[in-house]
Every structure is written in structure tokens, then in C-alpha cells.
Symmetry: C2
Subunit: 324 residues, 2 copies
């Protein structure tokens, strides 16, 4: 079997998860990790994997079939996507929903004869696929997305930016009553605070004004003001012991009707490790990206463009026999 040769740009949590997923995929070969740091300084979990400077990437375009971009959406991807897509097939997890159309256009504009799958992962990504499939099947209906129980990096970061906060973790928690209301088929209309709670675990700096921190969190626009938020002050040791894993999950629910008959479709995820699962989706999408490229299907794509068979390393006849 010809193996798909993969490069990874960025070695944070998603980069590490991607390394693991590529190394266990039977149809893939990991060419190397590309980093902005000094390659020698990278503390890589498998010393047999070559590490390169990100500046060497463009000279290696004939050695890599798909480059998986594992940087952060707010800091890296918006620029990196267009840059790398000019020379490589790429896959990324760009997840700033409001900016996706612009990003898609930018990446598309930089492509001549490569293929990019942007904004994959689980939301956007797998959850987007569920929203699309379920709405297309039952257009007379309503779709609901719930996130959690899990850590929101963006919200945790927003708390850490407050004066007097040493560290913080924020959990997004779906409200059971809301989930049950959707499940009942009644198609409720929700405010933000009806669907999710925000639970914050905060390590304050010595002598900080706890009441002020709590007030600043609870009234923070966009992030917390529209939600019922709880703030728990804990020690750095407690944070490390009880809140250092990265579980996440959520669900997409679609409640629809065919005339007088009601139907509920529900997709849920329960993940021990958000970054490792995200990486697993990226790797399946990298496989699909390369198959589209091989069919001369060039340009900037999303998960909405992928024939599902392309996600698998199995041949089509096996898929039909085993899974259809």
C-alpha cells in the first residue's frame, strides 16, 4: 500500500495527538514535525520522529502529501493556512465560526493545484456534519448543539487574563432540563443561559480581592454575563490534581416532523481527551484530503465536501460489505 506522507505543523496538544494518530494509522507515514521553536529544543514523545524548523517546510513539498496544521486558530492558522495551502495539501481545525467564510475564501485564493480541508475537528467538523445531515433529512425541524461537560480553553484563558488570577479552568456544562426538553420533541426556544452553565475553578494570587475577581468573571460580556456562572477558588495544587485533564463532549440534536409524526436524531460525544479526539478527526480528514487531491479535486474544502468513504483506509468493497 502506498502510504500517505504526513507533516505536522505545531507541537501543542493537538500536534501531539496528531503524531499519535498518524503513527497508528496503517496507511500513513509521519515525515516530521515542523516547529517555530528551535527544533533541538522540542521535547518530542518519540525520538525517532524528525523535527524541522517551520522555515524548512517549503523545501520539502515533494516529500509530504498532506500537512496537518496544528496551531491555534486565533494566533496561527489564519495566516498559516493560506501560506501552506499554496504549496501543500493541508488540513486544519480553524474554529472561529464567524471568520470561517473569510478564511475559506483566503485559503481558496492561494491554491493553484492543491487541496485544503479547513475547519475540521469535532466542532466545527463532526458536529457540523451532523447539523447538515439531520437538517437535510428533516428540514421541518430545529437543531440544537450542546457542549460539555468539558473544558473551554477560550473561557479559561479569559479568566486568566483578569488581574489577581494566577490560573483558572472553566467547564461548560449542558443543562439537563434543556436537553430533556429537546428530547421530548417540543422544539423549545432557548436563551444562552437556558442551555449551558459555566463552572469556574480559579487560583487567585496572594492577597487578591476574591469578591472583585468573582464579580469581574460573572459580568464579563460574551463570555459569562449571559450565563449562570459559578466561581470556586481553589489552590494551585488542587487545580493541578483535579483539573488538569482535558475531557470534553457534547451533542447535536435535531427534532423534526413529517406532518403529525415527530422524530428525534441525536449525536453525542464523550471524550477523555479533547485534543486527541480532535487530532483523530484531523487525521481522517487528511486521508480524505489526499484522495480528493489525487482526483484533481483542488481548492479549499470543508467536511461538507467529503464523500464519507474517503475518510477510511479500507477499500470501497470492504466498506460496503462490512459497514453499509
Amino acid at each position: 500500500m502506498e502510504k500517505v506522507r504526513i507533516g505536522i505543523v505545531g507541537y501543542g496538544n493537538i500536534g501531539k495527538g496528531t503524531q499519535k494518530a498518524v503513527q497508528t494509522a496503517p496507511d500513513m507515514e509521519l515525515v516530521g514535525i515542523f516547529t517555530r521553536r528551535d527544533p533541538k529544543s522540542l521535547n518530542i514523545t518519540d525520538s525517532s520522529v524528525p523535527v524541522y524548523s517551520i522555515h524548512d517546510a517549503d523545501n520539502m513539498r515533494d516529500k509530504i502529501d498532506v500537512m496537518i496544521l496544528c496551531g491555534g486558530s486565533s494566533t496561527d492558522l489564519f495566516e498559516q493556512g493560506s501560506h501552506f495551502a499554496a504549496n501543500f495539501n493541508i488540513v486544519d481545525s480553524f474554529d472561529i465560526h464567524a471568520k470561517i467564510p473569510e478564511y475559506l475564501d483566503n485559503v481558496n485564493a492561494s491554491i493553484k493545484n492543491t487541496t485544503a480541508v479547513i475547519s475540521s475537528g469535532w466542532d466545527p467538523g463532526l458536529f457540523s456534519m451532523m447539523r447538515l445531515m439531520t437538517e437535510s433529512i428533516l428540514p421541518d425541524g430545529a437543531t440544537y448543539t450542546f457542549w460539555g461537560h468539558g473544558v473551554s480553553q477560550g473561557h479559561s484563558f479569559a479568566i486568566r487574563n483578569i488581574d489577581g488570577v494566577a490560573d483558572a479552568v472553566q467547564y461548560t456544562v449542558p443543562i439537563d432540563k434543556a436537553v430533556e426538553a429537546v428530547r421530548s420533541g417540543e422544539m423549545p426556544v432557548f436563551e444562552a443561559r437556558d442551555k449551558h452553565l459555566r463552572r469556574c475553578f480559579v487560583v487567585a494570587e496572594e492577597g487578591a480581592d476574591l469578591a472583585l475577581i468573582e464579580h469581574q468573571i460573572k459580568t464579563m460580556p460574551n463570555y459569562f454575563a449571559d450565563y449562570d456562572t459559578t466561581v470556586n477558588f481553589i489552590t494551585a495544587d488542587e487545580l493541578k490534581k483535579d483539573h488538569s485533564t482535558m475531557p470534553h463532549g457534547g451533542m447535536v440534536m435535531h427534532s423534526g416532523t413529517t406532518g403529525e409524526n415527530k422524530h428525534i436524531m441525536e449525536f453525542s460525544l464523550k471524550l477523555d481527551s479533547n485534543p486527541e479526539f480532535t487530532a483523530s478527526v484531523l487525521v481522517a480528514c487528511a486521508r480524505a484530503c489526499y484522495k480528493m487531491y489525487k482526483k484533481n479535486d483542488f481548492g479549499a474544502k470543508t467536511v461538507f465536501d467529503i464523500p464519507l468513504a474517503y475518510l477510511s483506509f479500507k477499500d470501497y468493497n470492504s466498506l460496503v460489505k462490512e459497514l453499509l
Copy 2:
């Protein structure tokens, strides 16, 4: 908007559901129903819909973009699929899993420049898509399909064939303990009887030997012998009152790992009307079939070949903006 012109072959429960779904789709036009019966005898729910003899279909190929075949798998589709695919784009719900590869080959062989999407619906169909997506994302894992709580037509029919049985309905019921075991991430290995119960409601003929009927049901190979089966004798009136709707549902669960971390993906359906939901999937697939045809993507396809955007009547930019 150019409307997709749809023909429906067969007017059983799925045909009726398809009529309803096509009539509410904003991008479709129902050209007519095609039947083997005398067209005048068809008791159609909307008298404005033209009814034709199935023998007139081949003369109408320039009036129909996609023909949705709504006959039964065991009786009609195996022959009808190849016949209609030679002249029309077709969609069907052929659901005899063991025969799908052969059927796919047959339909493919009869196609010159049309497109067929076979074996759509929810299983095979939507559930197949879930099995493929989840296994591709976490190949180190196990996939489980549960059906029910719902009526199995095949099992009900098998009971009705027993001497002394006037009528019968069989419910397939997933066993909660098995579902919970999968949800726990332990990846259990099941026998058939561990996953599903079979609950039978039987109307016996006057003077029939009830003990013998019960014995014949419970020992019937393939259908019941491998399951824990309950048999309840009821009156024809009770059957009509309590068991004449066609609810169904089920779930696809995938339990997988990335090294030491566990993840569970779960997709479930809860359907008031099995045939109406199946029809809704067929109609979305008919839309996708026509889009593939317009791109000269001819041949016999399955749900594994469909880029998900093709299922929707919305334009691509709206999908990216609203659903990604």
C-alpha cells in the same frame, strides 16, 4: 430555482411518505406516482398528483430527473433497480445487507450515463454513514448497532406465516444493560440475545393451539431462536388499537481509544414513523443523486459516495455560514 423533478415507483408506506416529503421540499416537484396496479384504483392522499402505470415510465424519461423506488427489497427492488437505472437516475432503500454487494454490481452494470444511490434510508443508510465515520475517526475501537424500540416488518411477517396465526406484530427492543455496557467504554463482546429482546403480539385464529404457536415462534431459527422472546396473545381489536403505528429507532455506538484515553460516539434515532423517516432520507439522497448526475458522476453509488453538502437544498455558502 430549477426544481428537481421526482417520480415515485410504488405506493406503499414508504411511497406515501416519499410523496409527503417531496411535496414539502422547496426544490422539488412531484411528477407522479407509478404503480403496478390499475392507476385509477390507487387511493392517493392528494388527488392532484398524477398516477401512471409502471409500464408508462420508460416513455417519461425526459420528464423525470430522479425516480425514487419505494417497493419492497425482497419482492421488487432487486429487479426494479437494474431496470430503472438504465433509463433514470434512481434512489432506493434496498436493505437485504447480505445481497447489497451483488445488487450494487447489477445496478452498476445496467448504467450508461445515469446515477443510482442504492440502499439508502436509515439502516442501511444513515446508520451506515455513522458506522463509517466513527470507525474512520477512531479505528482502534468497536462499533455497536442497536435497533428499536420498534416494529420489525420481517419478524412480524414470519409470525403471520405460522399456522393458526391471524395477525401479529413483533417489536425489537434493545437491552438497556448492553447499551450501558457499551457506554461505559468496556467494549463488550455480545451474543445476539445480549443485545435485543423480541416482544411478539399475536392474534390467534379461533381454536388454534396457543402453546404450539408460542413454541414455533420461540424456536424459529434466525428470527427468534437466538433471542429471549416473549409472546402475548391479544385480540384483533387490541392489535389494531395498540399496535398499528410504526415507531422505530435505534442507535449506533462507537467506543474507541487514543492510547490510554477513551472516547464514546453515539448516534440515536427515535422515530414516530419508520416509513416516513425512511422516505425523508430517500428524498435527501435523491437531491444528492441528481447533483452527482449533473457533475457527470455516473454509476451505482451508496451513501458512502455523497459529499454531505449535496443532501441539502441550501447553497454552499449558506451551509458554511449557518452550519459549519
